[in-house]
């Protein structure tokens, strides 16, 4: 029995390793996706933080009415005001300018006489594209700081303690560990990446060895041999599982390497621990088995490769939703880790964020996937009825 299973497994692997299209879809795309995912985030963060620190020039109307203090405070944070000619509000509305200031004629006088000076800040968060909108944010904060400064001066002039108008001094202390800070992105991306790898990585071969073989007209010739249904199904499942393990291992190691080694922007102390990657692979393996079985169940009764791809779409959606749920919803009960897809992805998400995973969560997530895989395999054996499969509707 085992010799036939191994024979089918070996043949399916050889066949699929020679299929360039299949290899690209099963291995290369998840790998590139993982690397892109890992590199893209730190680069984007770096661009955003650099952009936020860049000197900016803000157009202003009525600059002659501004106080020198305000101009000096803005200069400290590298914001330079320049006189604008034309309709500034329209320019900001049309996103030609990210922000603008309008000083009314009585601005300086009102500030100096202790009144409430109106200052119009024009903003358009859509200006500057995905990473734009920093001019207005910096302007807003700086003007707010200047405002506090003026208030303090006025209180001191009247011999009043500025603390009178500051009943609460908020002292924010960030207690997140460097691993947690580094893992915030990974906590969301790793569960989603796992779901993506397992559906895409095994999809092509799972369909190829079932619906694909039927469409090619070779399945009948296998089923007339003494190989039993169980042997055929097990051999094929082993091949699908083996092929899925390749992108699973490569993509996670690629993700880790890309995010930790290729990125010059990430601080040393925020590296993603390699143990998280090992856990992701370990928890991902039984989950891969379950998703492989589910894909085979869906494709075993379809007539063609195309039909099977359509039939597998709800599964891909389900896995993605499960992974997304795990990325954003922390399990409230340890038994929730038993839920296939959600449990495994939640373990990875929690580990990636540096959080402590409840005792038994890893074992429960593995058990959940394995139980689902066994039940799925039993269903697959029942569905793998040669007469209905070959000639049924």
């Amino acid at each position: 029995m085992s010799a036939r299973i191994l024979n089918i497994w070996r043949k399916e692997l050889l066949d699929n390793f020679r299929d360039r299209k299949g290899l690209i879809q099963s291995i290369l795309i998840p790998l590139l996706f993982g690397i892109f995912y890992a590199v893209f985030d730190p680069i984007l963060n770096d661009i955003i933080s650099r952009r936020a620190a860049d000197p900016i020039i803000v157009p202003a109307l009525g600059l002659e009415y501004a106080t020198q203090d305000l101009i000096d405070v803005l200069a400290l944070v590298e914001i330079t005001l320049v006189e604008y000619e034309g309709d500034l509000a329209e320019a900001v509305r049309r996103a030609e300018e990210e922000a603008g200031l309008i000083f009314p004629e009585d601005f300086r006088e009102t500030v100096e006489t202790g009144g409430a000076a109106p200052l119009i800040l024009l903003t358009n968060p859509t200006a500057g594209g995905l990473i734009g909108g920093f001019s207005s944010e910096r302007l807003e904060i700086t003007v707010s700081v200047y405002n506090d400064l003026l208030a303090q001066r006025r209180l001191q002039t009247r011999d009043l303690d500025p603390e009178l108008v500051t009943p609460i001094v908020l002292d924010i202390r960030n207690l997140a560990t460097p691993e947690q800070l580094g893992g915030v992105f990974a906590a969301i991306s790793l569960p989603v990446l796992l779901g993506f790898i397992l559906t895409i990585g095994g999809l092509y071969i799972a369909i190829d060895v079932t619906a694909g073989e039927k469409e090619r007209g070779t399945l009948e010739s296998v089923l007339v041999t003494p190989a039993s249904d169980l042997e055929v199904l097990l051999g094929k499942l082993m091949a699908v599982f083996s092929m899925t393990l390749i992108p699973l291992v490569l993509t996670f190691i690629g993700f880790w390497a890309a995010s930790n080694l290729l990125s010059a922007f990430r601080a040393e102390d925020t590296l993603l621990p390699f143990t998280v990657v090992l856990y992701a692979i370990g928890v991902g393996m039984p989950l891969a088995l379950f998703i492989n079985v589910a894909t085979m169940i869906l494709s075993v009764r379809t007539r063609s490769f195309k039909d099977a791809q359509s039939a597998a779409t709800p599964l891909t959606l389900g896995v993605t939703l499960g992974a997304l749920a795990a990325a954003f919803v922390i399990p409230s009960n340890v038994l929730a880790y038993l839920i296939p897809i959600y449990g495994s992805c939640a373990v990875i998400g929690r580990l990636a964020s540096g959080a402590v995973v409840p005792a038994g969560a890893v074992a429960l997530s593995i058990a959940g996937s394995l139980i689902a895989a066994v039940i799925g395999f039993m269903i697959a054996v029942i569905l793998f009825d040669r007469e209905r499969m070959l000639y049924g509707g």
Partner: protein
């Protein structure tokens, strides 16, 4: 030897195969002839163990294809009408794959693979991937994988269908060679001249039943016709019978 006894297969109200019985002896070529929809392919698929009959039995050298399925299938080589091959594998790799499915290994396997390659004159293409092979070359792979375990009994569903003249001649020669080796060959065909030339015995199936069985000469004599084609049309129920069979096939779909 293949023995088919009272084989029945219904699809709803359609009696696709309705009590078919016949026998194919060793060292003989038996032809299963019938119009489209007569139950020919369903019968062959039941013999191959791909379809379960509602009743009746198929014995391959004394082994029941339903009750002792694995053992019976090991004694049978099947060349189906599906000529699909694995395009990314060479014929040699495909023969090895099927050989192992039939339980062959080691030197015995390699010996059989080489023997089949030589028998089917495939030496030049044996190590080329099957992508782009002609229909004739693919048909050789299909035949080769049916013969890889050196079976005593061979089942062939329209083996010469769609082949060019040279490939047809080669296939017919292979069938004769199998008979010469003492094997039991059961095959279906649409070509009356092929059946007349090759077959030692012919079973004619129409509307799911065997309506006549005998040597080509016996069938011609029995109907008083000049050739097998005329005899076949008469035995299958005339033009009306052929049409009914085709209508039954449509309903079964």
């Amino acid at each position: 030897m293949i023995e088919v006894t009272d084989l029945v297969k219904h699809y709803g109200a359609i009696r696709a195969v309705d009590g078919v019985s016949f026998r194919c002896g060793d060292g003989q070529i038996t032809g299963l002839l019938g119009p489209n929809g007569a139950g020919k392919t369903t019968t062959l698929r039941m013999i191959a163990g791909l379809i379960r009959p509602q009743s009746g039995s198929v014995m391959i050298d004394g082994r029941d294809i339903t009750r002792d399925s694995q053992a019976a299938r090991a004694l049978l080589g099947v060349q189906s009408d599906m000529t699909g091959v694995y395009p990314r594998l060479t014929p040699r790799e495909q023969f090895r794959y099927y050989g192992r499915l039939y339980g062959l290994k080691g030197e015995a396997l390699e010996g059989r693979v080489q023997a089949v390659i030589e028998q089917l004159h495939m030496t030049e293409i044996a190590d080329r991937r099957a992508q782009g092979f002609s229909r004739g070359q693919r048909q050789k792979i299909v035949l080769g994988r049916a013969l890889i375990h050196n079976p005593q009994n061979i089942l062939m569903d329209e083996p010469t269908n769609g082949l060019d003249v040279m490939a047809v001649r080669e296939t017919r020669e292979s069938i004769r060679q199998m008979r010469g080796e003492g094997r039991c060959v059961l095959f279906s065909t649409h070509y009356m001249d092929e059946a007349e030339r090759l077959c030692d015995s012919i079973a004619i199936i129409a509307r799911g039943q065997i309506v006549a069985q005998g040597t080509p000469d016996e069938l011609i004599r029995r109907t008083g016709k000049e050739n097998l084609e005329e005899a076949f049309v008469t035995l299958a129920g005339g033009a009306d019978g052929l049409l009914k069979s085709e209508a039954a096939q449509e309903l079964a779909r």
